[in-house]
């Protein structure tokens, strides 16, 4: 049932493993995994590596397909995978991006410290929860017309600036400046628009959350300074995506590609890997729709940012500010040049991590490398990392995206005791504002791998540099 054994893998460095192309005859490239020995042994008991091998079969796939240390089993593609495909004659796969298109995180940095906030923390958490709709079935505070939704989809952060939810400097601190050039509202299915039109500015449920944190440790002073971070500072991390609009967009394009694959002579080992040539009409239509859904997700995180800023000022005073540090995507496909080849880089549960000097980076981060944020499980630590030249050479400029689930939701419900979890969070000094007990239990720390180990593997391989560790002081979630 689990066809990959340790003997099938070659350890090519302390934390780098390869499943060679010879493992299965339909593989076109090697599959590489970044993990320590303990993680590898855990992964052999599930099917995520088999899913990684499946992605090595795509026409035009580039050497190698990659799994980050937070890899876990998904549906089709593994979560925590990076698959680059030649744009000229390769494919694009909606499943390689996932249903939550441009799910991602952004970090906001305050000018204040944990000590300064003191007892106002509880009021702050309550006000943020009031301002930001969370949980299932909550609609947003913004009512968009059809024309306004199209403007969100076509122009991303430009809409947010025009509507008064963002500044020009916010847009500069988002991948693609918050506006995917390829976006076209016309390519987004009508039903996707209907499903998402009232969800702009909503956090959602599941693993999405908003955290107020304190900077616990700085590992790299120079880069931390470049990112505007200092010890004791209070930050805010926002994790959400494109909501129902992205889910429905992916659903409809998976079906469209499933129906045309045979016409292009493409076969895949799992139907959820359905794809079409990037340059074919179906491939282009998906790319335009995905880009538009990505614009929606950036606006979603921006509208939430605006609401958090309002809460911040209401509780802490009009002089207090929250500056955007950066916004990174976890689930997206992008056109990038690697090794002189134009590629469609699918990142599903992985983060772009461009190294120093890359022209896509904002001028202020060009020396340090791209800021990357790795949310840990609820109540533990999150990390700020920085992209490296090694990432550019080895991993298509990519790194991990989080802790990685290790307990199923059902197992979490069976093993986590709600009262004990609440007490543990309270004892750790964390204010919790959660819409449901279930949401809290499913995301309990024991449901995830240790984020420290995940980040240490990335640092060991040179794919990313550790910059800072953040500890939660308040959690708001659905």
């Amino acid at each position: 049932m689990y066809p990959i054994a340790l003997a099938d893998m070659q350890q090519i460095a302390p934390c780098t493993w390869e499943i060679p192309r010879s493992f299965r005859k339909d593989m076109r490239v090697n599959a590489r995994l970044y993990a320590n020995r303990e993680m590898v042994e855990h992964l052999l008991a599930e099917r995520s590596l088999e899913q990684l091998v499946n992605t090595a079969t795509f026409p035009g796939v580039q050497e190698p397909v990659l799994a980050m240390p937070d890899i876990h089993q998904g549906y089709g593609f593994p979560i925590g995978g990076v698959v680059a495909v030649r744009a000229e004659d390769g494919v694009i796969s909606p499943g390689g991006v996932g249903y939550d298109i441009n799910c991602g995180v952004r970090l906001l940095a305050s000018t204040t410290t944990h000590k300064d906030i003191g007892e106002r923390l509880a009021a702050l958490a309550t006000q943020i929860q009031r301002n930001v709709p969370t949980g299932v079935g909550r609609s947003g505070r913004i009512k968009l017309s059809d024309e306004e939704l199209d403007a969100v989809l076509d122009t991303g952060m430009h809409w947010a600036i025009t509507a008064g939810h963002a500044s020009e400097s916010d847009a500069e601190l988002v991948e693609e400046n918050g506006c995917f050039a390829a976006a076209s509202a016309d390519a987004v299915p009508e039903r996707a628009k209907k499903r998402g039109i009232d969800q702009l500015g909503t956090l959602g449920a599941g693993n999405h959350f908003l955290e107020v944190q304190r900077v616990e440790s700085i590992f790299d002073t120079e880069r931390a300074k470049a990112f505007g971070l200092f010890e004791g500072q209070v930050t805010v991390l926002i994790h959400t995506g494109s909501r129902g609009l992205g889910h429905q967009t992916c659903t409809e394009y998976v079906r469209r590609m499933d129906q045309v694959m045979a016409d292009y002579g493409i076969t895949v080992p799992d139907r959820e890997l359905s794809c079409a040539p990037f340059k074919a009409p179906e491939g282009q239509a998906y790319f335009h729709a995905m880009a538009a859904a990505a614009n929606f997700a950036w606006c979603n995180r921006q509208v939430i940012t605006h609401a958090v800023r309002e809460a911040w000022r209401a509780v802490l005073g009009a002089h207090e500010a929250l500056a955007l540090v950066y916004d990174v995507s976890h689930n997206v496909a992008k056109l990038e040049e690697h090794g002189g080849v134009l590629c469609v880089v699918h990142r599903k549960g992985a983060t772009r991590a461009f190294g120093p000097g890359h022209e896509e980076l904002p001028a202020r981060y060009r020396k340090a490398g791209q800021p990357v944020f790795i949310p840990g499980s609820m109540g533990t630590a999150s990390y700020v990392l920085s992209g490296t030249e090694t990432a550019m050479q080895e991993s298509f400029g990519s790194t991990c995206h989080g802790a990685g689930r290790q307990l199923s939701r059902r197992k979490a419900k069976e093993t986590v005791v709600y009262d004990r979890l609440c007490r543990a969070l309270h004892d750790a000094g964390i204010e919790v504002r959660a819409a449901s007990a279930k949401g809290l239990i499913e995301e309990a720390p024991e449901a995830y791998k240790a984020v420290d180990q995940v980040v240490d593997v990335m640092a060991e391989t040179g794919i990313a540099v550790k910059v800072a560790r953040l500890r939660p002081i308040a959690i708001v979630k659905g």
Partner: protein, 163 residues
């Protein structure tokens, strides 16, 4: 009430649901209409039925039971749904995706399912609705490990839901 034969209660809905899963294991000889099974990150839904029409209706009941708190209710209105798809498995995904999209866009719970016509490529059904807000989220119905097959005592369908 959704006619899945399980008890209702006032517990948090997820405890209620766990109770239902446990109950389903006790249905020896009377296969449960649907079960929500373990998957490392998502939910695997398995439905059974004496006929293809019944297994499709039970899969829909299973998905709705995940999304909504089950309460005594009669449909406020009915809608007609017609789906065409390239094969039986795709028909199941499209049927559930259609219900998911309607439920989450229109704030409706679908509580009664009458599949009037079904073959390998086409389904026509009448679905009974009450206005309701979901208490849980499903992002999508996936094609991963998807199966609709005939077994000894009827039909069985398995589908993974991205939650």
């Amino acid at each position: 009430m959704i006619s899945n034969g399980y008890s209702k209660g006032l517990q948090p809905h997820w405890l209620h649901r766990l109770g239902r899963e446990a109950a389903s294991a006790e249905h020896r000889g009377h296969a449960a209409p649907f079960e929500l099974l373990e998957h490392p990150a998502d939910i695997r839904l398995r439905a059974r039925g004496a006929t293809l029409a019944e297994v499709f209706a039970n899969a829909a009941r299973g998905m709705m039971a995940y999304l909504f708190e089950l309460v005594e209710a009669k449909p406020e209105r009915w809608e007609r749904i017609e789906i065409t798809a390239p094969d039986r498995e795709a028909l199941l995904v499209d049927w559930l995706s259609e219900l998911l999209c309607r439920a989450t866009s229109n704030y409706n719970a679908y509580i009664s399912f009458q599949v009037d016509e079904i073959d390998e490529h086409r389904l026509v059904a009448r679905v009974g609705i009450v206005s309701a807000v979901a208490i849980d989220d499903i992002k999508a119905v996936t094609h991963h490990e998807l199966a609709v097959r005939k077994c000894n005592d009827g039909w069985e369908a398995t589908v993974v839901l991205d939650v």
